[in-house]
Symmetry: C2
Subunit: 212 residues, 2 copies
Amino acid sequence: MAITRRGLMLVLSSPSGAGKTTISRRLLDEERTLFMSVSATTRARRPGEVDGRDYFFVDPTEFNLMVNRGELLEHAKVFGNYYGTPRGPVEEALAAGRDVLFDIDWQGTQQLQDSAPRDLVSVFILPPSTRELERRLRARAQDSDEVVAARMAKAADEISHYPEYQYIILNDDIERSVAAVRSILAAERLKRERQVGLPDFVKGLREGSGDD
Amino acid sequence: MAITRRGLMLVLSSPSGAGKTTISRRLLDEERTLFMSVSATTRARRPGEVDGRDYFFVDPTEFNLMVNRGELLEHAKVFGNYYGTPRGPVEEALAAGRDVLFDIDWQGTQQLQDSAPRDLVSVFILPPSTRELERRLRARAQDSDEVVAARMAKAADEISHYPEYQYIILNDDIERSVAAVRSILAAERLKRERQVGLPDFVKGLREGSGDD
C-alpha cells in the first residue's frame, strides 16, 4: 500500500573539494528512484560519451531556440560552451514519482528556484575546515601553490552562497553525509504536497472503503 | 565538530488507534535530544503523578493568569479541565538545542502554528485503512458497537484535518513509521535556519581558521 507521490528535484551544491561527487555517486547507487539529470550542451561530444545519456548534444542555434521557447529549467555559459537542463524529461520523471539529482552551482540553483520552487530541495555541502578543503584540493593533482590559491578563492566565493540553500550539511564524514542526504530525501517525500494521492486515499478512508 | 543548532517542536497528531502513542514512546527512547512537553493542567493530580514531570498542576485562577500573560503556547478545555503548554520550558529547551515532542490534536497544532511557526514541525499519522482502524479501536476494550461507531466518527473528523500538517505518514508498519519520523527529525535539524551557529562557522572557514 503506497500513496502516489510526485518526485522531487534534489540539488547538491558545494565548493569543489567538499565531497559532493562522492556523495552523489553513493546516492545514485543506493536510491532506486533517484536519477541524474541529463543536460543539454553545445560543447563537442568526447570519445565514449553517449548522446541522451551523458548529455543531449545540440548546436548553438538549437540551444538558443530551447532558451527562447522556455524549454530549459536553467542554463549557463561555462568556458565558452552552453549547458542547460531540458524541462521535458525532468517534468516526466517528477510526474512518475521519480526524483532527479542536479549537480549545479548556486547560479543554476537560483534559476531552478525561480522556475520550479515547489519541486526543489536544495542542499549545500560544506567542508569541515579550510585546512581539510586545501588538503583535498591539493590531493587532486600536483598543482602549483598559485593554482591551489585560486581554487581556494573560488571555493570561498561559492561558500558565501550557502544562505540560499534549504539544507546545510557539514561533510566531516562521508557515511554520515550520505545518511544525512538520504534522511532529507525520505523526509521530503513525506511532505504532504508531494503525496499527490492523499486526497483520494483519505476519501477512501473516510468512506470506509479502505484498502486491506 | 558540530554546528550549534536551535531545537525544534515536533507535533505528532492522529486519530486514536493510528499508532501515535507507540511511535512517540519509541522516539523518546531512541532520540537522545528529544523530550516530551509537560503541560499545565487544572485537573486534579492522580496517585503516582509527579508535579513538573507528568503535569504542572495549577488551579483555575493561576491557569487563567498564565493565559492572560501569554505564557501558554496553546491551551484547550477537555472534559471540563484546562490544559496548556507553558512557553518558558519549551523556549529554554529549543535555545539549548533540545527538541520537544507534543502529543496534541489539530486545534493545539493550529495554536502552535500561530505562536511558533518557525520552530514547528507537524506530522499527521494516518491509519492504513478503515478496517484496520476499527480493528485497533475494538481491540482496546470490550466496547459496544455504539461506542466504537462514535470513536470511528471522531477519527473521521480528526482525519479531515490532515491538510493542516507538513508531513503525512501512513502507519502500516510501526518500524517503518518510526524510521520515517526519525528521518523527518534528522532532515529538519539540517535546515539552514535551525543551524544557528552557521554564520560563525562559515566566517571561520572563509578566514581560514577552520577547526581541525
